[in-house]
């Protein structure tokens, strides 16, 4: 097991794992999140090809569109 941080919380994952797989573990649709890895924004098209590494700090930023209606 390898340790990473997801949204400030420690998590143990089995490597290798792609970002898409990590997102799906949380029952999140990849299209619904913007992702920062170690503070750098990752383009959505790269989620499939990006491997998570030990010690990564990953932030899921969720699209939130409501407000007016």
């Amino acid at each position: 097991m390898s340790r990473i941080k997801v949204n400030d919380e420690l998590r143990e994952v089995t490597l290798p794992i792609t970002l898409t797989e990590l997102i799906q573990q949380d029952n999140i649709v990849p299209d619904m999140v913007s992702v920062q890895i170690n503070g750098t924004l990752l383009e959505r098209a790269k989620y499939d090809d990006t491997a998570v590494s030990e010690g990564d700090e990953i932030d899921f930023l969720f699209f939130m569109g409501g407000g007016s209606l």
């Binding site: 503070g39 969720f62 699209f63 569109g65 007016s68 209606l69």
Partner: protein, 269 residues
């Protein structure tokens, strides 16, 4: 320095007592011009607090009329306002709260065609809209025109907000482009706890007043999100992204267009 009347001194006394605001700060609020885009869930508390605070000029743009299903959270609109344009309903409440405020209304949608004209005369813009194409349009217009703005979004039990000042991370630095149509539900599809709109909208109002008075530190280069089920608030650091489509080194967005709007079918209602 302008001369506040004794009534105004009394009305704004709790601001004037604040060391970071004082008479000078209240004068800045009085001279402030703020455009609120959307007079709905977020716009309602924003408008009411800005009106109460004595913001001198408030612009409101919203193309909708008040619907019965709005009243659960859009507290600036009353039962008797159902069917009335939201901008008109909002203007009446603002004038009742504080006759010092000059209100300009635009019963219209915020579009690529009118965006620059609308924001030009304002010091600070508040995003209280509910569709991604408009949120991205507000960001692009404000970044390109060098205008500060507050982004706000709510959904179910969650809220999120960030403040942008020229030179700081923009909405596209965190969310490059709108999500595919229908990937993310709107409040009208997924619901929202009414008070969430108040929680988020009052943060946006506070950011606006901080900007006008210069008090404190604006919430720039940070995305604040909260979940009301746990009442956990979380701040994620944002950076200005060299690859940002609008404020990066090689921007692809150099003018406003409706194209992304047409590509999205996240319809209202």
């Amino acid at each position: 320095m302008m001369d506040f009347t004794p009534d105004q001194i009394e009305r704004y006394s709790r601001h004037i007592l604040l060391q970071d605001v004082g008479v000078e700060g209240q004068e800045k609020i009085h001279n402030g011009k703020v455009l609120v885009i959307g007079a709905g869930g977020l716009g309602a508390p924003v408008l009411m607090y800005l009106a109460a605070a004595g913001v001198g000029s408030i612009g409101i743009i919203d193309g909708d009329v008040v619907d019965l299903s709005n009243l659960q959270r859009q507290i600036i609109h009353f039962t008797a306002d159902v069917g009335k344009p939201k901008v008109l309903s909002a203007k009446e409440k603002i004038q009742a709260i504080n006759p010092d405020v000059n209100v300009t209304t635009f019963h219209d949608l915020f579009t690529a065609a009118n965006a620059f004209d609308l924001i030009r005369d304002y010091d600070f813009i508040v995003d209280g809209t509910d569709t991604f194409p408009v949120k991205f349009l507000i960001n692009d217009a404000c970044v390109l025109a060098g205008k500060p703005f507050s982004h706000g979004g709510i959904l179910r039990f969650d809220g999120q907000t960030m403040t942008h000042l020229p030179g700081t991370a923009c909405y596209r630095c965190a969310f490059h482009s709108p999500p595919p149509p229908n990937a993310v539900p709107t409040c009208s599809q997924a619901g929202v706890l009414g008070a969430i709109a108040g929680m988020l909208g009052t943060i946006q109002a506070a950011e606006t007043l901080k900007f006008l008075t210069g008090a404190g530190e604006p919430m720039v280069n940070r995305l604040l999100s909260f979940n009301a089920k746990t009442m956990n608030f979380r701040t994620v650091k944002l950076h200005r992204d060299d690859n940002c489509p609008v404020c990066g080194k090689h921007p692809s967005v150099t003018e406003l267009s409706e194209s992304e709007q047409a590509a999205c079918d996240l319809k209202k209602h």
